[in-house]
Symmetry: C2
Subunit: 233 residues, 2 copies
């Protein structure tokens, strides 16, 4: 689907105000989202699957743009996977109101388990082709397949730092490279942001929901070695 930004798009530079982004592989994202998407985080950094990819339109073909992503916590909670009674202490086993009921399967589900860890510095990932002309960005699908997620707070590889067992919303930003001298003063007008709710996920160090594991194995080419039984072209 198409996702504009949250607040009204007023006061934006002409070079970004008509920018639009369509999420690619939308049906796959939605299939994961129905189950409750999980993304592995490792010390060395792990790619996302599905990969975040968008098709852009409405850019000035001759202007320069920088494309980047960041990840914002969806709430201030820490989660655990299980069945409420597991408890040590004051775990109430209360489903977070923001987690739809359908997240529960087989007697296990995501349960709020306290307040979130203090958030990491909040890194961003620049698309490695940045900067480039609008025409170049619009020519084909823009893929963030070099982006990696890590749980290492001391990471020095430039990866995105996330807390495991916390929920995140990926955000995508189109930034017009303003050639004007004091362009910093217009910075707030020169970018446009996109959030696709179907791309939100839980950061984990190991998959919790077995249906997520199976969908990853079924849809990620690199996990073909774990597929068994009938081939499905």
């Amino acid at each position: 689907g198409w996702a504009g930004e949250g607040p009204g798009a007023g006061g934006k530079n002409q070079h970004v105000c008509h920018a639009a982004a369509r999420l690619e592989m939308g049906s796959l994202w939605e299939e994961f989202n129905r189950l409750g998407t999980e993304m592995i985080v490792t010390k060395a950094g792990r790619r996302m699957f599905p990969t975040f990819q968008v098709k852009l339109s409405g850019l000035d073909p001759l202007a320069d743009y920088v494309l980047l992503m960041d990840f914002i916590p969806l709430d201030d909670k820490r989660y655990r996977w299980g069945w409420g009674s597991g408890g040590r202490g004051p775990d109430l086993g209360v489903l977070s109101p923001s987690l739809p009921r359908r997240y529960a399967f087989h007697s296990s589900s995501w349960l709020a388990a306290g307040r979130a860890e203090p958030a990491a510095p909040g890194r961003v990932h620049f698309h490695p082709d940045s900067p480039a002309k609008g025409a170049q960005w619009m020519r084909q699908i823009v893929s963030f397949d070099k982006l990696k997620l890590t749980n290492n707070l001391l990471d020095d590889n430039g990866h995105i730092i996330l807390n495991s067992m916390h929920r995140y919303q990926p955000r995508f930003h189109v930034v017009f490279v303003d050639p004007r001298r004091d362009s910093e003063r217009f910075a707030h007008q020169n970018f446009k942001s996109f959030s696709f709710p179907e791309t939100q996920f839980m950061a984990v160090t190991a998959y919790q929901n077995h249906r997520i594991t199976q969908l990853k194995i079924a849809s990620n080419p690199f996990a073909k070695g774990f597929r068994d039984g009938d081939p499905e072209p």
Copy 2:
């Protein structure tokens, strides 16, 4: 070694006149050059080995530069590998004066065999990180490992088109991206070119000199499968 450009460096823009490039893996290039370097060309495109890599210095850290390569014919001859008497017709089996005597081994050597084919359009290969700031280019070795050579005159993959059995000199160009309005008028001042004689080579569809083959196998990691006998770290 270091290689400046041919004609006097006079009249160059300040952003390029101090630029310098050191060829990396120089001793390997020289080892190949002593035997007579050959580079495979294929219809689909083949990488060079050794890869053309340079360490840059003397750029303006804050200015934008484009880096690119092209290949110029070293002479107007066509060559064949063999021993002079093979001949059909007027092959004289005369060693080209520009080919050192050491090119001959084992009763076989490169022989001039007529005039060169008409040259292809003369494509260039832009380093995929272009454009980038001088600081970025100087930070580490710049590698042209995405560059591919083809003998397909109709190639539409943007590869470098060469004639097999012809000799070429790789050239490397540093181009300052001039922000001035009518910068085209200064184009001749805004670049600096480098030629390393030890990187010249013969384009071939299959290796002719067996010593070249052995040196490729010994030094290219992707050819490790053809190494036999003692490992050499």
